[in-house]
Subunit: 97 residues, 2 copies
């Protein structure tokens, strides 16, 4: 199984509403993702200073399922409309679990 | 429940052996962490160019359990000996799940 992780630092255009919309649309997309086992996303809890602003963690059966999510037209549309415009920095890892 | 995520970019001193030792020592620490539900760590799978090098994802009952992990003397010792010296960049998020 592959766990995909992305951490985001937002720019000044991000709001709690746009963050929530981003998380909600990812959750709505989830049932249409082949080979997806879990998808959790949310804003940083504010426990530690200097953290990034938002995390997405999603588990997939295999690399192909992950790439299907990455390239899914609805996912690309969510990035284009929501996360892309409010992203300052973004880093990812996929690792075997 | 709190999910803690850290992504690392290593410097040139990192090797597969030091990565593996880091993951192994985190796994050994896990049974001594109060309120920990899961701890998964591993190197990037190499699916996407430009990714960071290593991820740690750990789930805790609450913020106090997470902070207990963060401040645990054995965790601090693992950082001092293993991840610290090979880290170039490091970003974290804790979020509610």
């Amino acid at each position: 199984m592959i766990r995909h992780v992305t951490l985001f630092r937002w720019n000044s255009s991000a709001t709690p509403e746009t963050e929530q919309q981003f998380a909600a649309e990812l959750a709505e997309l989830r049932p249409r993702l082949q080979g997806n086992r879990a998808l959790l996303a949310g804003p940083d809890a504010g426990l530690i200073e200097g953290n990034y602003d938002f995390a997405v963690v999603a588990d997939f059966d295999d690399a192909d399922s992950y790439l299907g999510y990455r390239n899914h037209p609805e996912h690309q549309d969510i990035i284009r409309r929501l996360s892309g415009p409010m992203t300052s920095e973004r880093h990812s890892v996929q690792f075997e679990i």
